[in-house]
């Protein structure tokens, strides 16, 4: 069993192969390749307009790449090119084995329905048909993201920004995905709320052995969460490596600039 697990973890979960995409003359990303292993957290950092979000959308199949391909190892162990999946398969993957946490929780949540239903939706989509069990699962997830279970029947409209973001995370993790994409999950939150969110995230990610691709412009977030770092500029990956290594000893001029521009109190 342990051996099998080892072998499982040896195979990459997500493979990006030579991805390029341009919008007219604007190059959004160019020749991006990397492998993501189970349980690994990869941060994509760079200034706005550097192609981070486009890359994330290509990786998650929400946008087609002009060139190159993305492969994913499905639950049955077969690695498949995402562009060969049918729409039904891709959408099924998206709401079961994957999660996608958006910067604006209002886009990732259904703001008009209760928190419980928000968390339960993915379960109902895969055929759960027992109200009591769905509610129990939703309660336990609210607890895990540190939301008061008494608020289960309130809509996210009544939630604070930090709570909304934690709710969005619970909604994504309820089907026990193996891979989660996060687009600036801490953007727009104040510092203490960010800290709490990061704390919740870090624990869940380790506990559930999640692989994560996180896009952020905040190097502190990358430092805290990620194992590996991809620095982007003008659509190109200019530096990659272990997070601590890149941040402590940046090789590229641009990365040095990025690191040195952080204010430390």
């Amino acid at each position: 069993m342990a051996n099998q697990n080892l072998r499982e973890n040896d195979e990459p979960l997500l493979i990006a192969d030579d991805l390029s995409k341009s919008f007219g003359k604007i190059i959004a990303c160019q020749d991006v390749s990397f492998k993501l292993y189970p349980g690994e957290i990869l941060a994509i950092v760079g200034e706005s307009g550097s192609g981070k979000s486009t890359l994330l959308q290509i990786l998650s199949g929400q946008q087609s790449s002009g060139q190159g391909r993305v492969s994913y190892r499905m639950r049955d162990g077969v690695t498949r090119d995402l562009s060969t999946l049918g729409e039904a398969e891709r959408r099924f993957l998206f709401r079961t084995d994957w999660g996608y946490v958006r910067q604006d929780p209002a886009q990732g949540l259904r703001m008009a329905v209760s928190a419980g239903a928000n968390v339960g939706e993915r379960l109902m989509a895969v055929g759960w048909n027992h109200y009591g069990r769905i509610r129990a699962a939703a309660s336990s997830w609210l607890e895990r993201v540190e939301i008061d279970v008494a608020r289960i029947d309130d809509t996210p409209r009544t939630y604070s920004g930090g709570m909304r973001q934690r709710l969005q995370i619970a909604r994504n993790l309820v089907t026990q995905p193996r891979l989660v994409f996060m687009d600036e999950p801490t953007g727009g939150l104040d510092v203490s709320v960010q800290a709490r969110l990061l704390d919740v995230l870090r624990n869940l990610v380790r506990e559930l052995h999640l692989a994560v691709v996180i896009v952020t412009h905040d190097l502190a977030v990358a430092r805290l969460l990620s194992d590996r770092l991809l620095v982007m500029k003008g659509g190109q990956v200019i530096e990659t490596g272990l997070t601590d290594q890149v941040l402590d000893d940046p090789a590229e001029h641009y990365t040095q600039l990025l690191v040195s521009s952080i204010l430390s109190p």
């Binding site: 729409e87 039904a88 959408r91 259904r110 329905v113 209760s114 419980g116 239903a117 339960g120 939706e121 993915r122 379960l123 109902m124 989509a125 895969v126 048909n129 027992h130 109200y131 009591g132 769905i134 509610r135 289960i152 029947d153």
Partner: protein, 295 residues
């Protein structure tokens, strides 16, 4: 100039063919919403223009038409549509459910079981069951195509979370033939079981929204629910005060400004039929007394 300015049953033959093609497709794919080029009708949208176009496309000179609105044959909507077809198609009209070959309905299914020789035409305001959960039509169409119906249960979940039970009382979503989730138009959920395995053809027309859908005879129609909160048809717990029926769907009628009310069958033909057969309710003579007293 002796010929009338309109065709038999108002619509021109090309339009009827178009509607019939949509109907055939709808019957071939039970519960699937077929787009059609809905026409302007000589009555306002919201008056059942979808149902009227479906009826106009299928009616023939030998047909006998019944029109009901909330179960009743004599409300404005029902009277107007019945008159419309009597005038434009010269067909016979009836209020007796068993005599009708085409029954156009708004909000009810007759109490008397329908037969194979009958067609039930529904007037539908909003054909999309997912509309209020997912406003994007492009997205809901995709969800139907891929049979992604988790969202429908979200609505039922919300009901239970808020009210302790599934409080949706009309427009209760059904799954047709194990495939498409369908909006049964705003019929009370009391009527949902009548759609299942029904001998008659059921056609749905939504004029404003330009959609037609259908349930062929003897098709499985299941009301969505949860294992621990099963579907329960609702009716007021009272007998009809005119005919004493214990199992028909009731209208609640306010009789004065002191909280007085009475329950009577919503299906007027069914109620009259029972009264003619000698069944009486507790207040059978009350309306007449009142009329006499008023002079």
């Amino acid at each position: 100039m002796s010929s009338p300015a309109y065709n038999f049953a108002y619509l021109d033959e090309q339009t009827k063919r178009m509607v019939r093609r949509a109907l055939l497709k709808a019957i071939a794919i039970p519960g699937y919403q077929v787009p059609f080029a809905s026409r302007e009708m000589p009555m306002p949208y919201g008056w059942g223009t979808g149902g009227v176009q479906v009826t106009a496309a299928i009616i023939g000179p030998a047909d006998v038409l019944k029109v009901i609105d909330q179960g009743s044959d004599d409300t404005t909507n029902a009277v107007s549509i019945r008159k419309f077809f009597v005038k434009t198609a010269g067909v016979a009209a009836t209020t007796a459910t068993e005599d009708a070959t085409i029954i156009q309905t708004r909000h009810r299914i007759p109490e008397r079981a329908l037969g194979e020789h009958q067609v039930l035409v529904y007037q539908v305001p909003i054909p999309e069951p997912l509309r209020f959960l997912e406003p994007r039509e492009t997205e809901t169409r995709r969800m139907h195509a891929l049979a992604e119906y988790g969202l429908m249960h979200v609505k039922l979940y919300e009901d239970i979370a808020k009210f302790g039970h599934i409080a949706t009382a009309y427009d209760y979503p059904v799954k047709v033939n194990d495939r498409y989730v369908m909006d049964p138009s705003p019929t009370p959920k009391f009527d949902n079981p009548k759609m299942d395995n029904c001998a008659a053809i059921q056609l749905f027309g939504a004029g404003t929204e330009k959609r037609i859908y259908a349930i062929p005879p003897y098709t499985k129609v299941v009301s969505l629910d949860f294992e621990d909160h099963p579907f329960v048809p609702y009716r007021f717990n009272a007998p009809c005060e005119l005919c004493g029926s214990e199992d028909s769907y009731l209208d609640e009628i306010v009789t004065d400004d002191k909280g007085g009310r009475m329950f009577v069958c919503s299906d007027s033909d069914y109620c009259e039929g029972r009264q003619a057969a000698g069944h009486t309710g507790s207040l059978i003579s009350a309306p007449y007394k009142e009329r006499a007293a008023r002079g």
